[in-house]
């Protein structure tokens, strides 16, 4: 496997989605190619940074309450009409 093919698989590798066959070829190339090894570390970092730096917000409490009630309301409605 050459460097180009390896670069394409790198993205798949960081997600742990390589097939067994791909993984073998991928690791084989990494063992022989310093540049791709460095590149692979960078690829892992890019995934990590998205995960770590994108801020997660909590759903507003009012929304959570509403969703809990939503199923209540819908249930009551269903009792009466039974229509979809």
């Amino acid at each position: 496997m050459n460097c180009n093919k390896t670069r394409v698989l790198m993205s798949v590798a960081v997600d742990g989605e390589l097939t067994v066959k791909e993984e073998q070829l991928f690791l084989l190339h990494l063992s022989e190619c310093e540049m791709c090894r460095v590149e692979y570390e960078e690829a892992k970092k890019t995934k990590l940074i998205i995960r770590e730096k994108i801020v997660r917000f909590n759903a507003p409490a009012s929304l959570v309450t509403m969703i809990m009630q939503l199923s209540d309301v819908d249930a009551k409605k269903a009792e009466g009409t039974l229509s979809l």
């Binding site: 997600d15 890019t46 730096k53 994108i54 959570v64 249930a75």
Partner: protein, 209 residues
């Protein structure tokens, strides 16, 4: 085999009691399976709509629909993925038309999003002058937002939400091969963007303030 339960007619109103018991069970299961993902859905909705009010509406509509069709949810599969699919469809059908042009980023909103977040550069005093550590959350956010939607979407679903390729393929209604190549190309663009932000700080020069 699990689907055979959908046709319970419950014709007479004398069944009211059992029915509401059934509904109670459904509710409990719904809360356990579906409502627990509300934060993820809300964040996904925020990314799609770029507007907290719209995001709330979208999440609410999603759950309403999900509850109605909860019987068609295949037990044992990923409920979060199922909900995301519903949300995405809802977004396409009722929101996207009225929302701002794709690619237009509301910078005020982003500032609002992030104004409470402290400068994280301070506590990452690692000696390695890794430019990733110098990046601010809003920069990463902007970099992600700057990507074409088809790339941004798969990165979000994969890196932030942790879905598998198979689940993503199902959500975006494309083959796994397409998901792979979008991730590859999206990440390439994203890294170029992140590196350009990092250059602003002169991450290699290791300046001391």
């Amino acid at each position: 085999m699990a689907k055979s339960e959908t046709n319970h007619p419950a014709k007479a109103s004398s069944k009211k009691e059992t029915l509401s018991r059934e509904e109670n069970l459904k509710q409990l299961e719904f809360q356990k399976e579906a409502v627990v993902h509300i934060n993820s859905l809300y964040n996904y909705a925020l990314h799609l709509t770029m507007n907290p009010d719209d995001a709330e509406d979208l999440v609410q509509e999603t759950y309403l629909k999900a509850y109605r069709f909860f019987n068609s949810f295949e037990r044992g599969t990923n409920c979060k993925a199922w909900l995301f699919k519903i949300l995405k469809n809802n977004y396409i059908n009722s929101f996207r038309k009225n929302s701002k042009e794709p690619g237009k980023v509301d910078y005020d909103l982003i500032k609002d999003f992030y104004h409470s977040i402290k400068d994280t550069r301070i506590d990452t005093s690692e000696a390695d002058s890794d430019y990733f550590h110098t990046l601010l959350p809003e920069e990463v956010y902007l970099a992600l937002q700057s990507l074409p939607e088809e790339f941004r979407e798969v990165i979000q679903l994969c890196d932030i939400e942790g879905f598998t390729y198979e689940e993503i393929a199902n959500m975006v209604e494309s083959p796994i091969g397409t998901v792979r190549s979008r991730l590859y190309r999206g990440r390439k663009l994203l890294r170029a963007q992140l590196e350009s932000y990092a250059k602003k700080y002169g991450y290699n020069t290791d300046t001391d303030q």
